[in-house]
């Protein structure tokens, strides 16, 4: 079954297309990367899927359910069972790492005893047990990344959306976290939709890459094909 299906999605801002006739099917468990320069519409696609903005045209399905059709959100973001890691991480500064993880569980009505277990499991999974009671301002960049990832994964989402999550990190940390993401994806098996402008990152994380430019899909295919396509280095 297809995890996510985009059908002819278009989004315009002040008459100018940010995304134009975007159609894509993402099978369950796939690691799909959207690659493109700033302003190509890749973040817009992510935000359309999350439900923060509504397309002017087209439909989106998640797990077989239509969530957007004819310019109307049929399901709000909180109902789509997605996880997201934002570019600025969006960790809530007034909550500890544990508090950041617990928030979603509480919102979903998970009982206290189960919450405790889930949090412990995810902290262990991400190797951040000892930072549970620290506030985000007390954590390093890499530690904040892990908390953000943990927060996205704790609710076992249908798909994980990541919007250039490693762009502000140094190379060493970025490489480390890429491997971490791959390990998690392999262990848990979630569908991954990853947005980046970094080709190396795209090729390492993705199993399939969509290249976007000016709101449209320029090329789509397995990593090797896209790597060939980029033999002539483009100007991003």
């Amino acid at each position: 079954m297809k995890s996510i299906v985009f059908k002819s999605i278009s989004k315009l801002y002040a008459g100018k297309p940010a995304v134009l006739e975007f159609s894509l099917e993402i099978p369950r468990g796939q690691r799909l990367v959207i690659l493109g320069p700033s302003g190509c519409g890749k973040t817009t696609v992510l935000r359309l899927l999350a439900g923060f903005i509504t397309p002017d045209k087209g439909s989106i399905e998640i797990g077989g359910q239509v969530v957007v059709k004819d310019g109307k959100n049929l399901k709000e973001p909180e109902e789509r069972q997605l996880g997201m890691v934002f570019q600025d991480l969006a960790l809530w500064p007034h909550l500890t790492a544990k508090g950041n993880l617990e928030f979603g569980l509480k919102a979903q009505g998970v009982p206290a005893s189960k919450r405790k277990q889930e949090i412990a499991d995810v902290l262990r999974l991400m190797h951040i047990e000892k930072y549970a009671n620290a506030k985000p301002s007390q954590l390093s960049g890499g530690q904040q990344q892990r908390v953000a990832l943990a927060r996205a994964l704790i609710l076992k989402p249908k798909a994980l959306l990541m919007d250039e999550p490693l762009s502000s990190l140094d190379l060493e940390l970025s490489l480390k976290l890429r491997k971490e993401i791959l390990r998690l994806q392999k262990e848990i098996g979630f569908t991954l939709l990853y947005v980046t402008h970094n080709r190396e990152e795209a090729f390492e994380i993705g199993s399939r890459v969509v290249v976007m430019s000016h709101g449209k899909i320029e090329r789509i295919g397995p990593v090797d094909h896209i790597r060939q396509y980029f033999k002539q280095p483009p100007q991003f």
């Binding site: 909180e78 600025d88 969006a90 809530w92 007034h94 979603g104 960049g141």
Partner: protein
């Protein structure tokens, strides 16, 4: 989903409490003996005199706002971002004039600068004649209103400085000294707050007539006041307020155009509560002395006579006896009013910031119009609307006073909320949304905690304005339920000077003490600095 019903109900509340009284007054202004007529508007600006009055109002408002900004912003920076000594004390002292009715400040300045004022005793009659000449006219009006309203700019500057992302200033410090960073980075970043404070000062001054009347500088709001007090013509009084409403519209438009293309950085999660403090080094003492001198001449000296006049046990005893119950009422109504204002203002601000409903612009304009309008107009509108047997449960109770506060002051809390929300990245709420939190949970658990400093500041500002309110309270308080400012003014008519002075001091203490307690409580919870 709860979002739309809650926001729509806020719109309805503001429409009923704020807009309806205005519509009632507007209808009065276009009907004569049951027939449609523009008679009240004819000749409104036909005479040259009215244009002169309008020019006076604009000049006074512009100059007062200018001076408040020129002094208030740097002062706010000194008090919020440097290691200058006695900062806390200075903030409190500079705020005091805001707690006192502007008319009383004018009288205080008269007692200082008048022909037989305090200065005359030290510097002689000739100097006093000059100072008296200065006081009665535009310069005097600007001086009095500047000393009264400068705290608005100062307080809002302090509030907004706390929200700056320190990294941005650090990035500037790499290549420039503090003057360059303040000019090029800090001040532009807090521009929404500065503009908001300037807008408030401009509108407060525009609607002020008590001080200009006392200092013999004729201004346009006198038109509305005169129609009420001399002609008892509600229609003409409403018509007289329309030019002020139009000027308000222009001010809002100007603000929107100016801010439209600006974007503002936010303090990220990693920054915590950090604010960079400027070390003044060897200039620390000199800055403190300079601010101290300003404080002395601007606040302490004019109020010195007020305090000296009140220095008798009998005056205070009589004051407590005559006004003790009105004091308790004032504090209660102000606390309730501020709480209602922050609740309504928060959701109104949220609606405006997120453009959640199509009429977000109208909501912003409505609240600012209501703030700019004379309290008397709103008060009479409330009386005409709510004084019916069926609504006696509102009109004959203190609820009507709270309604008056909501109608007049929602713009304060709404705009502070908007400015605070501008500082919070949208991703904060989105992150909560994507993990399944409904709207109310997001508001309560994420947005409010992130905006808590703004909410606290908004509550305190609303509390001050509710406490000092007289225009609306005067007209709607249920018999026997007057507030302290009203009581002070009614006793002022032939009341002994020491009693009036004592009541003013009681009023100031009554405002500062609860504010002080609340500030300590909030500070202990990290809500203010």
């Amino acid at each position: 989903m709860a979002k739309k019903p809650v926001l729509i109900s806020i719109v309805v509340v503001l429409a009923v409490i704020g807009l309806l009284p205005l519509l009632v007054m507007f209808l009065r202004s276009v009907t004569v003996e049951g027939h449609f007529s523009f008679a009240a508007y004819e000749g409104l600006l036909a005479s040259k005199n009215k244009w002169i009055l309008l020019k006076h109002s604009l000049t006074l408002s512009f100059l007062t706002t200018l001076f408040c900004a020129i002094i208030g912003v740097p002062l706010g920076i000194l008090l919020a971002k440097t290691d200058m000594p006695f900062r806390g004390i200075f903030v409190v002292i500079f705020t005091i004039p805001l707690l006192i009715a502007p008319y009383i400040m004018a009288v205080s300045w008269f007692n200082l600068l008048g022909r037989e004022g305090l200065l005359a005793r030290f510097w002689g009659e000739r100097t006093a004649a000059v100072t008296s000449e200065f006081l009665f006219g535009l310069p005097g009006c600007v001086l009095v209103l500047f000393s009264t309203y400068m705290p608005v700019v100062m307080l809002l500057t302090i509030t907004f400085l706390k929200t700056i992302n320190p990294r941005l200033e650090e990035a500037g410090k790499i290549v420039s000294g503090w003057p360059g960073v303040l000019k090029g980075i800090t001040i532009p970043l807090i521009m929404p707050g500065i503009l908001l404070s300037c807008l408030l000062v401009f509108l407060l001054t525009l609607g002020e007539f008590g001080v200009p009347m006392f200092l013999r500088y004729n201004v346009f709001p006198v038109e509305t006041f005169t129609q009420f007090s001399a002609f008892y013509d509600f229609g003409a009084a409403t018509a007289g307020a329309i030019p002020l409403a139009l000027i308000t519209a222009l001010a809002i438009l100007f603000e929107r155009i100016f801010l439209r293309k600006k974007t503002y950085q936010v303090k990220l999660a990693s920054e915590g509560n950090r604010t960079i403090v400027i070390c003044l080094g060897r200039f620390r003492k000199w800055f403190a002395i300079s601010v101290g001198i300003l404080c002395f001449f601007m606040v302490i000296l004019p109020l010195l006579l007020l305090v000296l006049q009140s220095m008798s046990f009998n005056a205070y005893a009589r004051g407590v006896d005559l006004a003790g119950d009105s004091l308790i009422r004032s504090l209660s109504y102000a606390a309730i009013g501020a709480s209602m204002l922050i609740a309504i203002g928060f959701f109104c601000g949220y609606l405006i910031h997120n453009r959640s409903l199509f009429l977000w612009r109208s909501m912003d304009s409505l609240t600012v119009f209501l703030f700019a309008l004379p309290g008397t107009l709103i008060g009479i509108g409330l009386v005409l609307l709510w004084n019916r047997p069926a609504t006696n449960f509102v009109y004959a109770t203190p609820i009507i006073i709270i309604f008056g506060y909501i109608a007049q002051y929602t713009a304060l809390t709404s705009r502070v909320t908007v400015s605070m929300l501008t500082q919070i990245p949208a991703s904060m709420e989105e992150a909560a949304q994507i993990v399944g939190a409904g709207w109310l949970r997001r508001i309560g658990s994420i947005v409010c905690p992130l905006a808590k400093r703004g909410l606290v500041a908004g509550w305190l500002i609303a509390y001050i304005f509710c406490l000092r309110d007289m225009g609306i309270s005067m007209l709607v308080y249920p018999p026997g339920h007057d507030t302290l400012p009203v009581r002070t003014f009614t006793l002022m008519a032939n009341g002994p000077a020491d009693l009036i002075a004592a009541l003013c001091v009681i009023m100031v203490l009554a405002t500062l003490l609860p504010l002080g307690i609340l500030t300590v409580v909030f500070r202990s919870r990290g809500l203010t600095e």
